[in-house]
Assembly symmetry: C2
Homo-oligomer: 152 residues x 2
């Protein structure tokens, strides 16, 4: 048993996990957007000035993908992070080029699954913060987590 | 005014937009996962066999990113697709390597924004379908859309 891996019993409501450090530079923002979200405010600094945002900003799906990378590092769950779904997924403010993102994860609820003995469902508020510590993304992740006893 | 671009008045509840064709091959799945979701069931065929999924599957965030690309193509909104948030984001079944994804978008609700004259909020059910036409992802997107009259 890897001591660093987390099980259901470790994810008690109120527990907070913090960390991560991901620079969203203009080049990464444009490379991601060209492949997945080809809109001018994500792919071109000049065109972005004329857009809703007024400057180059990261695709919300880029922020989401970078958030996943930080989640895997900060809250490593035994058997892997198996997402059952997301609620209340919001981007309260844009993420312009140059921001350094970090994560704050707060366990909201943990309950055993009736249908799958040895597993639990954990609801976690995941906030992705900009350099100033303000959320650029917020979501509630519902994750399947094995128990120490009878788990994977 | 680009005739192909969609405005608030075009997005009437019940209207369906379909299309897209994105092959999720093993190499793309692994490249995305190495950068954003480095877990064995997304990065390594052999290790995936021992995992929860039993085979290599796409990261849910990869499915989400590919979905965004298809959304931009199928439902091009004037001024760009400005996401206010997502509700009921679910991955009802995994997406193994080799699936070809497509999209079905159904407008659920459209209402003018009181706080921003000339703009509306549109709620759209976005389903990402596998080769067999079954959803691998489902979400309700809340999008800010300009009106023809008084819009962008």
């Amino acid at each position: 048993m890897n001591e660093r891996l987390l099980y259901f019993e470790d994810l008690t409501p109120g527990r907070v996990f913090e960390g991560g450090r991901e620079l969203m530079d203009a080049e990464r923002i444009k490379v991601f957007a060209r492949e997945f979200d080809p809109q001018p405010f994500h792919t071109d600094e000049e065109a972005a000035k004329e857009s809703f945002f007024g400057e180059l900003v990261a695709s919300g799906w880029h922020t989401a993908a970078v958030t996943m990378r930080m989640m895997v590092e900060i809250m490593p769950i035994a058997g892997g992070s198996i997402g059952a779904g997301i609620d209340e997924f919001r981007w309260p403010r844009p993420c312009p080029a140059g921001e350094t993102l970090s994560l704050r994860m707060t366990v909201l609820e943990a309950r055993p699954m009736r249908s799958k003995p040895g597993q639990g469902l954990v609801r976690t508020r995941v906030e992705t913060l900009n350099t100033a510590g303000e959320p650029v993304q917020s979501m509630v992740c519902i994750t399947v987590v094995p128990m120490r006893e009878g788990g994977i």
